[in-house]
Symmetry: C2
Subunit: 284 residues, 2 copies
């Protein structure tokens, strides 16, 4: 496995693979890799011939009061994990390699799709994401790129960007990976104290309850959200950012549950903002 910091060097390596008719898979990450990331790499190994994992904590997707500096980093451990699942290249550029000048070219999805859910409390976040992902796509030119469904809104936005800008690759969304007790894997889980770690279970528990209600026939979003809110409020330090039930294709709020349904939530446990979600396909 190679670790490459330079865009030019990476392109040379990938050109050689393409010349051999190898398909290329990209797993974009911010590092501090957990089992969720590893499952994306395993998907990529299965679907493509040559797998690139990018590890880049992208400053432009963090707000001024967010955790860019504090975001956990451990390239050595990340490299071991990538190697263990057969990744071919880690692309780990410095910020100066990705943004050599004051960046002023942006790719953005406008409209409700980036203002709802996480977009409401993280203005500018998705503009940073689409811009860096577009850059990574242009650098790697992958046949397929793999994203975790935990960032459900990100997946919908990136699929829209790819479609609307005619980018020539396939986006492969991969299922959420959870700890044994249900907590969705996240690099930010490392911020949680022992107490907060226990309280954090209310996120996945509230989704499980929503699922039970829906399986027993409930179709009213407000009724479901109310039950979820009560569950979450059992955690003393929980602060709900949002609980929303939206159309899984365009993220518009649903008045009644049908078709592609996305139940998404963001909750602060202590100081740590966590997200989780559930996707369901119901009769239209």
């Amino acid at each position: 496995m190679m670790i490459i910091n330079s865009i030019d060097k990476l392109r040379d390596v990938l050109d050689a693979q393409r010349a051999n008719h190898k398909t290329i898979g990209l797993v974009p990450t911010m590092g501090f890799l957990h089992q969720g990331h590893l499952s994306l790499m395993q998907c990529a190994k299965r679907d493509t011939d040559f797998v690139v994992v990018s590890i880049f904590v992208n400053p432009t997707q963090f707000g001024p009061n967010e955790d860019f500096e504090a975001y956990p980093r451990d390239l050595k451990r990340d490299a071991e994990r990538c190697d263990s699942v057969g990744v071919d290249v880690i692309f780990a550029p410095e910020v100066s390699e990705m943004y050599p000048e004051q960046a002023s070219t942006f790719v953005s999805c406008e409209g409700a799709i980036t203002r709802t859910l996480c977009g409401a409390s993280r203005p500018g976040h998705f503009k940073g994401v689409t811009t860096v992902v577009a850059k990574l796509f242009n650098i790697v030119q992958p046949d397929k790129a793999f994203f975790g469904q935990k960032d459900a809104q990100q997946v919908v936005i990136i699929e829209k960007m790819v479609r609307e800008l005619n980018m020539r690759l396939q986006i492969v969304p991969c299922p959420i990976v959870r700890e044994a007790d249900g907590l969705a894997m996240s690099s930010r889980n490392t911020y949680l104290s022992e107490t907060a770690r226990k309280e954090a279970l209310v996120l996945s528990q509230s989704l499980a309850e929503a699922n039970r209600l829906i399986q027993s026939g409930e179709r009213d979003p407000e009724a479901i959200i109310n039950v979820m809110r009560k569950t979450i409020e059992t955690a003393p330090s929980a602060q709900i950012d949002y609980i929303q039930i939206v159309d899984g294709r365009n993220l518009e709020d649903l008045k009644t549950l049908k078709g592609e349904v996305l139940i998404a939530l963001a909750v602060k446990i202590d100081q740590t903002r966590l997200i989780d979600n559930l996707r369901l396909t119901l009769p239209a």
Copy 2:
């Protein structure tokens, strides 16, 4: 020569060329082709193996009160002209092929570079340009793309977009082509009445005067602009939008002429907005 309307069909044709190790050149145009466009195609023929000319009057780069509907179109004549210089493919998509959904993903260069010169009186114009050009680059995946220096600001912005988004192609700017009497070629010249056509000569005449002043040692932008303004004002119907002398790399106003200099102007003659410019390299 093929005329192709469909993105998928175009990609099939281009993939076959790439499989044969042919390099691909793209000349993006809005059609109603004149000698200026043909010179871009000739550059493309010289520099690449397989030349695609896109003909697409892009609605998103026209303002609400601009001439999108009136913009001249003549695909039959355009096809003859392309054929005469050995173009391989015309890509002439419908608006619905380029924008199948309400477009909400945009590529934009922010900051002064898109607000100065034409950006001041055409808000949103360059956002439309960078978005459609990014789409065309993703559709065609050319090795090189050819743009006329008449749209000097457009060239600088597109080069910036390519650099900052790590797009993998080379931008080739090509010289302005002029009528025998000096008027820069433009599809919009067709709007000019006989009288206006004569008055329009003040644009190139003012640039020639600026050049004479600079060759005789003048380095003060205000002095040069004043002389240019007087020349332009000899045309009774001329309304100056801007005359600016800027750094040719970043389009920032120059206090004294040195290095890469761009003298650019936009003038309305009757109802027709015309642009022209002169690039010079002076001692730093």
